[in-house]
C-alpha cells in the first residue's frame, strides 16, 4: 500500500508550533476555505442581489434615455430619481434578498456540527488543544464570515454603482454614508442566522435533518410575517389611518421571524419603514409599510435568538467520551 520510493521511517516534528490559544481560527479558516469553493453559493449570492440588479438596469436605461432624448429624457430621469428614497432601496434590496440568505445559511451551516456528530469528529477536535469554545466559535465564524461577505457584496456593488453614476443627482449626499449603516445590518443579520443554524445543527447527527428543521423553523416563523402583510391588505392596504387600526402587538408579529427580525434591524439602523419597490407609489404608499419596531423590542428578539442558538450548541457539544 505504500510507495516504494517513500522514506518510511518515522521522524519527530521539530518545526514551529503555535500557541494553544486562537485554535478557533484554524477551524474557521478551514470552514471558510471549504465554503468559498462552493460555486453554488456564489450563484445564490449573485441572485440575492436581484432587486439591486433590476434597479441598476432601470437606472441604466433611464440614463441612456437621458443621453439620447436630450432635456426630455433628462427630465424623466430626474422625475424618477425624485421618487427614489435611497435608504429605502437599500432596505428593499436587503429584504428581498432574505429568502436567498436563508438558503445560503442553510448550505453554510446545516451540516457544520451535525456531520461532525455523525462522524465523531469532536474526538478529533477535542483531543487537540481546542476547547469547546474554540470549536463553537470556529464553526460559528465559518458560517458568519462567508454569510456576511455574501450579504455585503451585492449591497456594495449597488452602492458603488450609485456613487459612480448618480453622484451628480445627489446620491453622495443622500446615500454616500449608507454603506456604513449597511455593514452593521449585515453583521447583525449574519450573526443571527449563524447562531440559529449553529444551534439547530448541533442537535442532529445528519446535516440533512438539521437543514430540514432549520427550513421548518424559517417557514413557520415566517408565517407571522406573511400573516401581518395579509392583515394589512385586508385592512385596505394603504394609508396611515388603516395601519393605525391594527394593534401594535399584531404589527410586531411581522418581525417575529428569522426574516422579520433582520428587517427590523435594518429598519432601525436605516431609520425608515420603507416604501414601495422601484420608487413606485410615492409618499402616500410609504405609509402602508409596517412601522419601525422599537429598538428594545428588536434588540431583545435578536439577543434571544442568538443566545438560544449558542445555548443549544453549548449544551449539545460536550467533551465527549474520549476513550472507551
Amino acid at each position: 500500500m505504500s510507495s516504494p520510493i517513500a522514506d518510511l521511517t518515522y521522524r519527530g516534528y521539530d518545526g514551529p508550533l503555535g500557541g494553544v490559544s486562537k485554535r478557533w481560527w484554524a477551524i474557521a479558516k478551514y470552514q471558510i476555505k471549504k465554503q468559498v469553493k462552493n460555486r453554488f453559493l456564489w450563484v445564490l449570492m449573485a441572485a440575492s442581489g436581484w432587486y439591486y440588479a433590476i434597479m441598476i438596469i432601470i437606472f441604466f436605461f433611464l440614463e441612456q434615455m437621458a443621453v439620447n432624448n436630450g432635456p426630455q429624457g433628462e427630465q424623466a430621469l430626474k422625475g424618477f430619481l425624485a421618487n427614489i428614497v435611497w435608504k429605502d432601496q437599500f432596505l428593499l434590496g436587503f429584504s428581498f434578498g432574505q429568502f436567498l440568505f436563508f438558503v445560503m445559511t442553510w448550505i453554510l451551516g446545516a451540516a457544520s456540527i451535525a456531520n461532525d456528530n455523525r462522524a465523531n469528529a469532536l474526538l478529533v477536535y477535542l483531543s487537540k488543544p481546542c476547547t469547546k469554545a474554540d470549536y463553537l466559535l470556529g464553526k460559528w465564524l465559518g458560517i458568519f464570515l462567508p454569510l456576511l461577505l455574501m450579504q455585503l457584496i451585492p449591497t456594495l456593488f449597488f452602492w458603488l454603482y450609485g456613487m459612480t453614476s448618480f453622484a451628480s443627482y445627489g446620491f453622495v449626499g443622500a446615500a454616500g454614508w449608507l454603506i456604513l449603516k449597511m455593514i452593521p445590518i449585515a453583521v447583525l443579520g449574519s450573526a443571527l442566522s449563524a447562531s440559529v443554524i449553529l444551534g439547530v445543527s448541533s442537535m442532529f447527527n445528519q446535516g440533512r435533518i438539521a437543514g430540514i428543521v432549520f427550513a421548518g423553523l424559517y417557514m413557520v416563523s415566517n408565517f407571522f410575517t406573511v400573516f401581518v402583510k395579509i392583515a394589512i391588505l385586508f385592512q385596505g392596504g394603504h394609508g396611515r389611518s388603516r395601519i393605525a387600526d391594527i394593534p401594535p402587538a399584531l404589527l410586531n408579529l411581522f418581525y417575529c421571524s428569522i426574516d422579520g427580525i433582520q428587517i427590523a434591524i435594518a429598519k432601525n439602523i436605516l431609520g425608515t419603514a420603507g416604501s414601495q419597490p422601484f420608487g413606485g407609489g410615492g409618499a402616500r404608499q410609504r405609509m402602508a409599510e409596517v412601522p419601525v419596531p422599537s429598538p428594545i423590542f428588536t434588540a431583545l428578539i435578536w439577543l434571544a435568538l442568538c443566545a438560544a442558538g449558542w445555548a443549544i450548541a453549548w449544551r449539545r457539544v460536550r467533551a465527549v467520551e474520549v476513550v472507551g
Binding site: M1, S2, S3, A6, D7, L8, T9, Y10, R11, G12, Y13, D14, G15, P16, L17, G18, G19, V20, S21, R23, A26, I27, K29, Y30, K34, A111, N115, D116, R118, A119, N120, A121, L122, L123, V124, Y125, L126, S127, K128, P129, C130, T131, A319, E321, V322, V323, G324
Partner: protein, 304 residues
C-alpha cells in the same frame, strides 16, 4: 524520568468514585494500561487530557499541570481514540494536515508532514481518498496518523487493534512498537488484549476499582514467587520426577514433558541437580528456564 506524575487523584461522577486517591508515575517508554471494564482507565486518560476535573489531587503530564493546562497537554500528546472518528468530506491528507493545524502547526508544515506520516502509517497510496471510504483497518491507521502529525512526545492509544484482521493487527502492533522504540515517543497503550500489550509494551500499569493494583516491567510481573524453574525434557519420564525428589528438589507441577521444579539455593545450584538427575535417568534436557506466568495469569491474580 516519568512522563506523567499523578498524585492523590480522586475523580467522582456524582456519587460514583471512578478514581480513588490514585497516584502513579508513568515511566518513559511504552506502557500498557490494563484493567477490567469500569476500572478507571478511561477516567485516568480523560483526566490526563484535562477533560475531567478531579475532586482532589492533581499531577503533571510532560511538565504541564493537568488542572490548569489541559490544552497545552493536548498539544504535547497525541490521542488515538478507540471509536471510529474523522472529519467528514476530507481526503486523508487534508484530514491529517488539518489535525496538525488544529494542534498549532503552520499550514505548509502540516501538509508536508501529513504526507510523511501517512506514508509511515502505510496509507501513502490511499492518501487522496475520502476517509469515509476507508476500510476499518485503514481508519485505524489514519487515527494513528492524526495522532502523530504534530510530533507528540506522548501517544495515548486506545484499543489500537480494534476491528483489525490478523495481518492488519500484526502491522499495527509493528507500527506501535516501531514508534515507541528509539523514536523518542512515549506510548501508553490501553487495551483489553493482553497479547497486544505483551507485544508492544515493556511495562504495565494495572488499574482496578479506581486504584493502582500493580505497576512494573512485564517480565517482573510474570515472575512466579519462589523462582521455580521449568524443565523441558525430550519426552515424558516418570523416573526423572523420582530422581529429582531423591535429590531434594520439589516438583510443583508436570505437564507432559515440562516439569516445574523448585529447589533450595540459587537457580544455578538447582540447575546442577536437574542435569545430574537427567543424566542419572538417561533423558535429555531440551529446555531450562525460570518459570513465568502468562500476563493473563498475572493480571487475573493482581485484580483478584
Amino acid at each position: 524520568m516519568a512522563v506523567a506524575e499523578i498524585r492523590g487523584l480522586t475523580v467522582q461522577y456524582g456519587r460514583f468514585t471512578a478514581l480513588s486517591d490514585f497516584s502513579v508515575d508513568i515511566p518513559e517508554g511504552c506502557v500498557g494500561l490494563l484493567g477490567p471494564n469500569g476500572a478507571g482507565k478511561t477516567t485516568l486518560i480523560k483526566t490526563i487530557l484535562g477533560f475531567v476535573k478531579p475532586a482532589t489531587g492533581g499531577g503533571h503530564v510532560l511538565g504541564a499541570d493537568i488542572l490548569r493546562e489541559g490544552p497545552l497537554i493536548r498539544q504535547r500528546v497525541g490521542l488515538m481514540p478507540e471509536q471510529d472518528c474523522h472529519i467528514p468530506g476530507m481526503s486523508a491528507v487534508a484530514f491529517v494536515a488539518y489535525a496538525g493545524e488544529l494542534a498549532g502547526m503552520p499550514g505548509n508544515h502540516a501538509l508536508r508532514r501529513s504526507h510523511e506520516v501517512l506514508e509511515y502509517c502505510g496509507l501513502g497510496e490511499a492518501r487522496y481518498r475520502l476517509v469515509e471510504t476507508y476500510s476499518t483497518g485503514m481508519k485505524q491507521r489514519i487515527k494513528l496518523a492524526q495522532a502523530l502529525i504534530h510530533g507528540p512526545k506522548l501517544l495515548l492509544l486506545d484499543e489500537p487493534t480494534n476491528g483489525l484482521d490478523p495481518r492488519g493487527r500484526e502491522e499495527m502492533l509493528e507500527l506501535i512498537r516501531s514508534v515507541s522504540h528509539g523514536k523518542n515517543v512515549n506510548v501508553i497503550v490501553s487495551s483489553h488484549l493482553l497479547p497486544d500489550i505483551e507485544r508492544t509494551c515493556d511495562q504495565v500499569i494495572v488499574v482496578a476499582q479506581g486504584k493502582l493494583r500493580a505497576q512494573g516491567l512485564i517480565k517482573d510481573l510474570r515472575k512466579v514467587e519462589g523462582a521455580p524453574i521449568d524443565v523441558e525434557l525430550k519426552e515424558e519420564n516418570p523416573k526423572f520426577m523420582q530422581a529429582l525428589q531423591e535429590r531434594g528438589v520439589t516438583l510443583l507441577s508436570a505437564h507432559r514433558n515440562i516439569y516445574r521444579v523448585q529447589g533450595k539455593g540459587l537457580p544455578s545450584d538447582v540447575g546442577k541437580i536437574v542435569f545430574d538427575a537427567a543424566t542419572a535417568v538417561g533423558t535429555q534436557v531440551r529446555g531450562y528456564d525460570l518459570a513465568q506466568r502468562s500476563l493473563e495469569e498475572a493480571f487475573l491474580e493482581v485484580i483478584r
